[in-house]
Symmetry: C4
Subunit: 138 residues, 4 copies
Amino acid sequence: MSEADTKFRKPAGLPAPIGHRRWAIAEGFIPSGSTGPDPSMASHETACLLNAGERDAHVAITIYFRDRDPAGPYQVTVPAQRTLHLRFNDLRDPEPVPRDTEYASVIEADVPIVVQHTRLDSRQAENALMSTIAYPSD
Amino acid sequence: MSEADTKFRKPAGLPAPIGHRRWAIAEGFIPSGSTGPDPSMASHETACLLNAGERDAHVAITIYFRDRDPAGPYQVTVPAQRTLHLRFNDLRDPEPVPRDTEYASVIEADVPIVVQHTRLDSRQAENALMSTIAYPSD
Amino acid sequence: MSEADTKFRKPAGLPAPIGHRRWAIAEGFIPSGSTGPDPSMASHETACLLNAGERDAHVAITIYFRDRDPAGPYQVTVPAQRTLHLRFNDLRDPEPVPRDTEYASVIEADVPIVVQHTRLDSRQAENALMSTIAYPSD
Amino acid sequence: MSEADTKFRKPAGLPAPIGHRRWAIAEGFIPSGSTGPDPSMASHETACLLNAGERDAHVAITIYFRDRDPAGPYQVTVPAQRTLHLRFNDLRDPEPVPRDTEYASVIEADVPIVVQHTRLDSRQAENALMSTIAYPSD
């Protein structure tokens, strides 16, 4: 903390956990092709999970498809005061997320978290990026 | 579900349907030009619709323009527990969505859904992507 | 409306206007350089305004800067049942929006509207796109 | 203000400050590589802060990581009626934000502000852009 800025007072009375316990991401698509170096430039779809609270978050992800029953739940833990940038590419249990397939996801946690959705698409020579806050719901 | 992770308990008491029944997307523009292979790399504008509930969603889309009356309603069904990534490019009835024309859309459903908006622009050699959660309203 | 889909019923009882009367966009930056054909590929920053209601929307935009007083109000009208994709590049009265300068904006209307923010950056050979729902507030 | 548009009336009765006092950005990643001219084309991650109110905003930022305790608070002031587009790259006190590392952030202020998140990734020849409204919470 800057010693010089003596006027600053961290806002008090804001101890409530930040976030929601249910989130949805209606967009999902993992391209099978990539042109950049793996893994940083591999095409990937990410759910960025922030647990700013003081209790670990046990998270269950369900994947929805166009023409089959949902897959999951995929389970991850986001420790207290930590963030996890979860690549859908890396989900394995109970089954991998199929490539070149449109999907959507619902993310449920037992404590409030914050979820942001990002895709890096490197199918062509230069990358494309997109990101959005997920849809919060309790 | 992983048998090993015995500490995990799926959050209970969260049976409410996720989403809203009305959504708006103020941005819309389908470029007429594309440089990539069709259809995956064709320029397109998509409304990703997620129906995580247990009843089919009957969806009506109205398209707004700058200088003419709205078009629609375009009707689609998103079955229960399914997602539909609807390309505005593919809408035909009652009329196609004009290319190179600024538009906006309102999406109404008879059950809660979640809507995310994505555009792939391939007018130039390398694609550009953008995405945002739509605006929820009931 | 498709005559064949006789099961569809447009949701009733949803007549309320959609949107908010105040919105904020904290990001704003109009690059002075462009490489594509003007105007479609010129670098631009857009506020997409949707007025899905039945009364014209009179809109006032205020531009905030880092180191000077705000500019505006810039005034535009979005007719009932119309959308206006307003380029900040085109604002002239009371003063143009400076290029290569970080700004933010507050958009106020006398009826509910929906606002989405988009930037096309064509400073390099291939375009980059970004978009987000604006921040709604009443 | 345009003298000609005599029908326009700026909406009255909207004096409340716009925004929230707590925001979260679950995505964060500063690539160490750049290909464009510095600083405008250097890869950067930005929190755009808008203080449209009449009192200065004292802002404290906490950075969360995957596998270590949070860093911060980083402190900045956004004067009344000003915007600050804060690059995470530029944070120094109490420590720089590490490159090529996944992080997330919580932004707290003593008055309502609006926060939008933007990344410019210039690791490859052509830039990629992404932006989203941050997650508001009080």
